[in-house]
């Protein structure tokens, strides 16, 4: 009796020992960002003796917006530098949302900065707001590096316009992406006028050093993680398509072979950005999750044919070279804080869940997978899931539309009925945004705290 109890406790301790939730570094990072912004504002404060009249106010506002825009611009680029701490710890989806948000904000600051500074200069020259266009032309012609800055600002505006929701949806992904890459050129072009004409950098050599340091560090991170790291990864692992398998109508798995793939450090739940070196596909890369735990000789992704790119995947010939960047994503076992885990998959969102279902440590009954699809035919990978469930003693449930097409009711009550101790679970979730939102609300209602609901969503 005593021994059994001790054994049970020991076993549980054993399981829990592997569960060490790693906190996302989001909060300290955001604090650092705010501290930097405060330092930038202090720079202005320190260098501005007085704000006398309208001219002073307009120029002051122009300088503040300009300094903040210059600071945030570096961070906007940093967010897309694929720094592992951001991609794997904070989560690629969250960082992408930060990027979109801060990008929009920075662009607004740039526009405000241009308007205010030119208005201020016009006032200084004894002209009025109406002469702002002429003043802008004069300044661009006369001031150092302003030609470059004007060009860069033009690029920013184009990049911003192509990223507005409706415009972006109408553009092919590749076109949008390549326009977006121009950001690097725009940042480079607008950098120099900050140093040569910026009031605060002229007066304060330390500020200039800080600015060079900030932009230099970001450039180094971009070069290292976006260029050198992928080159090294692909030279080392030499991946190729092994086979393409149709799982259900519209969902295909791609098997990818290569050397020592277990050394890439990929975990279940993560994804790579894949570029297939086949005609018409080599110029864009797309994020697809691993749908099985990585093996030394094989990786597998499972993809639903929704876009041009994913539809073309089924025509991939075995032997096609593959260029991958990653692993990225924070939806891994590291997020887990409890012994019991509920995995929720919506449609093709099954891919990372399938990998986690297989690999998350746990005793019989600890792991539950809830799989939502339109019909039973759409339950891709079902046979594998059933086999894993049987082998591990895990629970596998599915929810599909009724024959009349009625949606299943995933409510708090239903969840609690199926999983009575649901509030003690960690929940991992992947699926379309609407589905994820409604499940999130049901889970919260059923008593699962938000910090234990882990999900990934690439909706902006």
């Amino acid at each position: 009796m005593t021994t059994t109890l001790a054994g049970g406790r020991a076993a549980r301790r054993q399981t829990m020992r592997r569960i060490r939730p790693r906190r996302s570094p989001a909060v300290p990072l955001l604090l650092a960002v705010w501290a930097g912004a405060a330092a930038v504002l202090w720079l202005w404060w320190h260098n501005t003796p007085a704000v006398a009249d309208l001219t002073g106010q307009v120029l002051g506002a122009g300088r503040i917006t300009g300094l903040l825009a210059g600071y945030l611009m570096a961070l906007v680029v940093l967010q897309m530098a694929r720094v592992p701490a951001l991609e794997r710890r904070v989560g690629s989806d969250r960082v992408a949302r930060w990027h979109a948000m801060s990008g929009r904000y920075t662009l607004s600051l740039v526009v405000a900065h241009v308007f205010l500074i030119m208005w201020g200069y016009a006032l200084q020259a004894g002209k009025s707001l109406g002469d702002i266009v002429q003043q802008t032309v004069d300044s661009v012609e006369q001031l150092p590096d302003m030609g470059k800055a004007a060009l860069g600002t033009g690029l920013f505006v184009v990049i911003g316009l192509t990223s507005i929701g409706p415009v972006r949806r109408r553009l092919p992904y590749d076109a949008w992406y390549h326009v977006h890459l121009l950001t690097y050129a725009a940042v480079f072009l607008t950098f120099w006028h900050q140093i040569t004409t910026g009031n605060d950098f002229a007066v304060e050599p330390a500020a200039k050093t800080f600015w060079y340091g900030l932009y230099g560090a970001v450039t180094a991170l971009v070069l290292w993680y976006r260029i050198l790291t992928p080159i090294r990864l692909n030279l080392r692992h030499r991946m190729r398509v092994e086979a393409v398998i149709e799982e259900t109508p519209g969902i295909v798995s791609v098997l990818i072979g290569g050397r020592r793939l277990h050394r890439m450090g990929a975990e279940a739940g993560q994804f790579f950005r894949w570029r297939f070196l086949a005609p018409g596909m080599r110029f864009s890369s797309h994020p697809y999750s691993l749908s099985a735990a990585p093996r030394p000789d094989m990786l597998r992704i499972t993809v639903k044919a929704i876009g041009d790119h994913s539809a073309r995947l089924r025509e991939l010939a075995p032997g096609t070279k593959v260029w991958a960047e990653g692993p990225y994503g924070a939806l891994t076992a590291q997020r887990r804080s409890r012994g019991k885990v509920l995995l929720v998959a919506g449609g093709v969102g099954i891919t990372p869940m399938r990998a986690l279902f297989e690999t998350l440590p746990g005793a019989a009954g600890d792991i539950t997978l809830l799989y939502r699809a339109n019909t039973t035919q759409d339950l891709a990978l079902w046979d594998e899931l059933a086999a894993i469930a049987e082998e591990r003693g895990a629970r596998l449930m599915y929810a599909v539309n009724s024959p009349e097409g009625e949606r299943p009711d995933i409510s708090a009550e239903n969840l609690q009925r199926k999983i009575p101790d649901i509030e003690t679970h960690d929940v991992f979730m992947c699926g379309p945004p609407g589905f994820a939102q409604s499940v999130f609300e049901a889970l919260r209602e059923a008593g699962v705290p938000a910090r234990r609901i882990h999900h990934e969503s690439f909706e902006m």
Partner: protein
């Protein structure tokens, strides 16, 4: 996974940014205490109620220039506050930085303040006539003027308008902001002529250093030669030249045209 509210977010971000910028701008003083002390002017005071630290020691030295602001005097219609520009112990300019506003008061202020300013400069004391029809404003003006004069005393050491007039004296022009930084000119005036001109502030850092080194000596020479602010701009340093001219003009205005 909390519901996102894009519109709310945009409104919040805009409101926070705008109010942050407005707050920062409004917290800055309207005139530059550092520039004034850099100009070496003795009785400069922006905040009411402080004695100039070097004030008492200035007796025979060539009197500096600066501004003195009197206490704000409350009247029935609003506050009146006088600022004096002092040069060589003389009031060269008087202005009201605060005066009653709104409705009838606007007219009265417009009518009375210029007269009071003139009287103050002419009399050099607070013993000036009230402007009829603007009694309250006049009384407030006199009070504020007196407090400004009281502050001047330690510096001017003696009767305003005394023997200093014939001596060489320095006058510092106002600080002019240019695209590259502030420009401020100080001139030495002797019997109505500019004998020296120098820039106490000029754009600094990067390219500006070179331009300043190039332009300022030329501008100084031109200023002395011309005796007016009507001098040629140094090519390649247009903004600095323009700022220089403006500051020079204000110094000349103060020197007592």
């Amino acid at each position: 996974m909390r519901k996102s509210h894009p519109v709310r977010r945009v409104v919040l971000a805009t409101a926070a940014t705008v109010s942050g910028v407005v707050l920062l701008l409004s917290l800055k003083p309207a005139s530059d205490p550092a520039a004034a002390s850099a100009a070496g002017a003795a009785p400069q005071q922006t905040a009411a109620g402080q004695e100039s630290p070097q004030g008492g020691a200035r007796g025979a030295a060539p009197a500096g220039s600066g501004t003195v602001t009197g206490d704000a005097a409350q009247t029935q219609y609003g506050a009146v506050q006088v600022r004096l520009t002092v040069s060589g112990g003389k009031i060269t300019k008087a202005e009201a930085v605060q005066a009653p506003k709104g409705g009838l008061s606007d007219q009265k202020t417009q009518l009375a303040v210029p007269k009071l300013n003139q009287e103050a400069v002419a009399a050099g004391t607070a013993d000036i006539d009230s402007v009829s029809g603007a009694t309250y404003t006049s009384e407030g003006y006199k009070k504020s003027l007196q407090s400004a004069l009281d502050r001047m005393k330690p510096a001017s050491s003696g009767t305003p308008g005394g023997g200093g007039a014939a001596q060489a004296r320095t006058v510092t022009g106002k600080t002019v902001q240019t695209q590259y930084g502030p420009v401020q000119v100080r001139i030495t005036v002797s019997s109505g002529k500019i004998t020296a001109a120098e820039a106490v502030q000029a754009p600094k850092g990067g390219l500006s250093d070179q331009k300043t080194q190039l332009a300022v000596p030329k501008l100084n020479q031109e200023a002395v030669a011309a005796g007016t602010a009507d001098i040629d701009a140094v090519s390649g340093a247009t903004y600095t030249s323009t700022g220089y001219r403006q500051s020079l003009q204000s110094a000349l205005d103060q020197a007592g045209g």
